[in-house]
């Protein structure tokens, strides 16, 4: 297959990434009309819980289940925090995993609302990746933690969504990302990252920095087409109505002040996985599949 979308779904006990990936795939089929491959460590769950999956998933790619010790704090609004296992280890393997020559890789919690990503195939580039997300409540707050991988370090690029062609250069890039992952305790010190948790956004950003010749090179990589709207994990997705997403956003650093936000026909990264799961359950169209 020539062009397609690769999704990852590795559940933990509280977050159903498989359900989110299926919802994401449904939106991809609706707006991008591309084949979708799903990387998962739990094919049984997918096939039994969602018997209609073949409508949206063209290929399942099995990977072995890894019991990671890595945990992450997951917010569900400002006041609810859960510490859960975070299985993000397989993203650097996407060069070997993808069945496509040209691949768009997306997080399962990225909701597609338009066809702007089809322009990836028009840009004649090996690699495209998101740089600056558009905060859905940007008039009310400035989330600075997403501009750089740490306060005194390099630009942050988002592994939430990227496009690549299978070329020798991209093979080198992903091998470098894998190397960074394998030597994470070293690289996180060099790049002054306070948290020990491995994060794909960071390793992708470090690999970009290295391949740029350790410079602020504005010519590579090129940004993904279209906007990536972002709702933080302190925000709550209230409802999904077709391509209209309604959020309740917290806009103070102390928490407790909220504003309603509606986003239509846009690609939105919903970082609050719990509220995304609830909104998908409430979506009658999806529930009645």
């Amino acid at each position: 297959m020539k062009q397609g979308v690769l999704l990852f779904a590795l559940n933990n006990k509280d977050v159903d990434y498989v359900k989110q990936a299926l919802f994401c795939a449904k939106k991809i089929k609706c707006h991008l009309h591309l084949p979708v491959a799903l990387v998962t460590d739990n094919r049984n769950y997918l096939t039994k819980r969602f018997p209609f999956f073949k409508k949206y998933i063209d290929q399942i790619i099995d990977i072995p289940e890894v019991n990671t010790n890595q945990t992450k704090r997951f917010l569900d609004g400002v006041y609810s925090i859960r510490k859960l296992p975070w299985k993000n280890h397989s993203r650097p393997d996407c060069y070997n995993l993808t069945p496509f020559d040209e691949t768009i890789v997306l997080d399962a919690d990225y909701i597609i609302g338009n066809d702007s990503l089809l322009n990836c195939f028009k840009l004649n580039q090996d690699f495209l990746i998101y740089r600056n997300p558009t905060d859905i409540a940007s008039t009310l707050r400035k989330i600075q933690k997403f501009d750089r991988i740490s306060d005194r370090s390099i630009d942050m690029w988002w592994a939430t969504g990227f496009y690549f062609k299978k070329t020798p250069f991209m093979k080198m890039y992903f091998e470098l990302v894998q190397h960074i992952k394998d030597n994470w305790p070293y690289y996180r010190l060099v790049y002054q990252i306070p948290h020990s948790t491995y994060r794909n956004d960071f390793s992708f950003s470090i690999a970009i920095h290295i391949l740029r010749g350790f410079q602020l090179n504005p010519n590579w990589p090129i940004k993904m087409p279209g906007n990536m709207y972002m709702a933080s994990d302190a925000d709550m997705l209230h409802s999904v109505d077709g391509d209209k997403l309604s959020f309740i956003c917290d806009y103070t650093s102390s928490g407790g002040y909220y504003v309603g936000v509606t986003v239509e026909d846009s690609n939105v990264h919903v970082m609050n996985k719990f509220s995304l799961g609830r909104a998908i359950d409430k979506d009658k169209e999806f529930a009645n599949e």
Binding site: K122, Q125, T262
Partner: protein, 115 residues
């Protein structure tokens, strides 16, 4: 609470929502005003429309244009290119106006959010 203050605070809440939704539809307008051609990406705005128009007025049939990623892109059919970007600009400006008016006429948070 003093009625005068309560009314003002209600309006203040409305303005927060209104301002944010206006910003989102502006972002959407900018996102849609993009044209991809020959491997290049062009933000469609008044500058590029006027520049292409000037080139055509000076008798040029084709041109090399610098795209948003500082890549020189050869445009062989300049008039077709101008037609395309004018169409993109007009379509999206119309949509922007429509959404802007929808938001403007609403005087409640629910109305602005269309929920």
């Amino acid at each position: 609470m003093d009625d005068r203050l309560e009314k003002a605070l209600d309006f203040s809440n409305l303005m927060i929502t209104l301002n944010n939704q206006r910003n989102l539809i502006h972002e959407k307008f900018l996102e849609n005003c993009v044209h991809y051609v020959n491997g290049g990406k062009f933000n469609v705005n008044r500058d590029i429309i006027n520049f292409c128009h000037t080139l055509i007025q000076n008798g040029q049939k084709s041109a090399i244009l610098l795209d948003d990623n500082n890549t020189p892109i050869e445009v062989k059919e300049l008039e077709d290119f101008l037609d395309e970007i004018l169409s993109i600009y007009s379509k999206n400006m119309n949509e922007y106006l429509q959404k802007f008016n929808e938001i403007k006429k609403n005087r409640s948070v629910e109305g602005i959010l269309n929920i």
